[in-house]
């Protein structure tokens, strides 16, 4: 999919390949690269998956693989955790049991 020059995009890049990483890492981290994500305005038309250059909000030029246009936040309040409900009910019982709070 082609993204137009000037679009607000998110790119991804490898900062350090596994062999270039710090010598003092746990085994699991040693096996994987150090990766980076940055957002900015696309400097030339580009396709998703292609190497592109962006200008970040502070005016830096950063290169990387084009991931998406208009990246959105998808964090939320998560799935309902019913255990949480019990906490308040229990605390009120311990604190106010037998008193006139019903």
């Amino acid at each position: 999919m082609q993204i137009e020059k000037g679009s607000w995009v998110r790119i991804h890049d490898i900062v350090l390949s596994p062999q270039d990483r710090s010598p003092n890492l746990p085994e699991d981290t040693k096996k994987v690269p150090l990766e980076m994500w940055v957002k900015g305005f696309l400097l030339e038309d580009g396709n998703i998956g292609e190497r592109v250059e962006i200008e970040t909000i502070t005016g830096r030029r950063v290169a990387g693989t084009l991931l998406e246009a208009n990246p959105h936040y998808d964090h939320d309040f998560g799935k309902f955790v019913p255990e949480i409900l019990e906490i308040g009910l229990q605390l009120k019982k311990v604190l106010w049991a037998g008193e006139n709070h019903d």
Binding site: D28, I57, G59
Partner: protein, 473 residues
């Protein structure tokens, strides 16, 4: 000339880049083999309390409300031994512009950067400090870049950190997100070198001094409200700056009798640089992964000499488990009508237990709260834990195995604050000083420095040095 950008080459330029980016020549304060004049550094490179009050006041930072938690106090008294149960108060630091006490640190750092003529500021942080720096940079018209450790190698991100990225971007900052690893520091140095921006480190003298106003306000607010200083102040401890700054502020107010307690979330067994462990943690700050290494070796931070030196001030250090902190976060909402972020409530969980050891006419204060919202809230954090295979259940928090389960107390009387032996931390600090600097002998002035830096008597320090076979010349 193009500079070499390999990991080793860049790390070798570390000293030079840092000097440019912090504007402090730390060598001026150093003497002996390991010693440096901490108080002189704080005096000559920091700001006076009055100056900080003006700087912070002008950016809407500080003077946060002091709230008495009457229902939580009543609850503590229900389960405490007869006659016990101190009054519990909280300093509502979420009322700061960026939603946490970190605004105090950022206010000073960004003010200083502006004064020295830097065009922008950079901070390496996945915590509330990023939003604080971004917010202050917005007020002062400086550019801002925040560098975060955010994702594991499957590109799954901690919801709490993603929310903090959103908040930084809301203030106009650029956020660079990375996968797990200490080489975040590499990206940080590279970006400092590329931009010439100021290193708004958490650990500069101005950053730490920024928290002094918090301790000072606490003393003043208590004197006005109840006519005396609090007996115990509990600080959530990670990098040590919160505790250090608060303690220094209390001392500046003449509140010398206050006991300073540090509290961290116990993340035993979860490696801080492990890609696999990263998303098994339900706390991204305020935990032992920072608290222990930073107290026993403060100079591991991103400046040559950290101004956060918690061992100088800490009277007691306690650990609480993840389930207990989540439980108290919900208790704060349900019994006190205050919905605040979990990480800041680490010290609340500890205070709830310590209050039960204290007399009813005594006062214990939780010195911070933090903002809450999508991602950064008990609900998404517990939901995320479940998705990562962590079991959530009610029971005895003592049985919590970090990275495997989260145990919500089945009764509030099961909450505990577990003491860490502070002397062991002090011994470990001395050992780190010796090993990091490969020392075989020390001068009398170095010995005097060690005594001050870990607040220990001479024979204690000498004993540890003897075990390490270090001579005093």
């Amino acid at each position: 000339m193009t500079k070499e950008m390999t990991y080793e080459a860049l790390m070798a330029r570390r000293g030079e880049i840092m000097k440019q980016a912090v504007g402090i020549d730390y060598s001026v304060f150093e003497y002996g083999k390991i010693a440096f004049d901490y108080e002189r550094m704080m005096r000559e490179t920091g700001y006076s309390l009055q100056e900080m009050q003006v700087i912070q006041g002008e950016s809407g930072v500080g003077n946060t409300p002091l709230l008495e938690l009457k229902n939580l106090t009543a609850l503590a008294r229900k389960i405490a031994p007869e006659g016990k149960g101190a009054r519990i108060f909280v300093k509502d630091e979420a009322s700061n512009p960026s939603g946490s006490f970190k605004a105090r640190r950022a206010a000073n750092a960004v003010y200083h950067a502006k004064k020295l003529g830097y065009k922008g500021v950079i901070a390496a942080t996945s915590g509330n400090y990023g939003a604080a720096v971004a917010s202050q940079a917005a007020m002062h018209g400086l550019k801002c870049i925040i560098i975060q450790e955010c994702y594991d190698s499957t590109h799954k991100g901690q919801p709490e950190i993603i929310e903090k990225a959103r908040k930084c971007e809301a203030y106009g900052a650029e956020v660079v997100q990375l996968t797990v690893g200490p080489e975040l520091f590499y990206t940080f140095l590279k970006t400092l070198e590329e931009t010439g921006y100021f290193n708004a480190s958490l650990y500069t003298p101005f950053g730490i001094a920024g928290v002094e106003t918090l301790g000072y306000e606490l003393a003043m607010q208590f004197r006005e409200r109840v006519g005396k200083d609090p007996d115990v102040v509990v600080c959530t401890n990670a990098g040590g700056g919160n505790l250090t700054g608060t303690a220094r502020g209390l001392i500046k107010a003449g509140a010398n009798e206050v006991k300073i307690v540090g509290a961290s979330v116990n993340l035993k067994g979860l490696h801080m640089a492990s890609d696999v462990d990263f998303n098994k943690k339900s706390f991204t700050t305020g935990h032992t992964g920072f608290g222990i290494p930073f107290s026993t070796w403060p100079d591991r931070s991103d400046v040559p000499r950290s101004a956060a030196r918690p061992l100088r001030y800490i009277d007691r250090y306690v650990l609480v488990n993840q389930g207990e902190v989540f439980y108290m976060t919900e208790a704060l909402a349900q019994l006190e009508g205050l919905e605040r972020g979990p990480a800041g409530n680490t010290s609340l969980a500890a205070a709830f237990y310590i209050a039960q050891e204290m007399e009813q006419d005594q006062i214990i204060v939780v010195q911070e709260t933090e903002y809450t919202g999508a991602g950064k809230h008990i609900q998404p954090q517990l939901s995320f834990a479940k998705e990562n295979g962590i079991e959530l259940k009610f029971g005895n928090p003592e049985d919590e195995i970090q990275g495997e389960n989260i145990i919500l107390p089945s009764h509030p009387s099961l909450l505990r604050a577990r003491d860490i032996d502070v002397n062991k931390l002090k011994a470990s600090y001395i050992k780190n000083c010796v090993n990091q600097n490969q020392l075989e002998e020390l001068s009398e002035e170095d010995l005097a420095f060690l005594m001050k830096d870990c607040n220990a008597p001479k024979d204690f320090v000498l004993n540890v040095l003897e075990e390490l076979k270090v001579r005093i010349s």
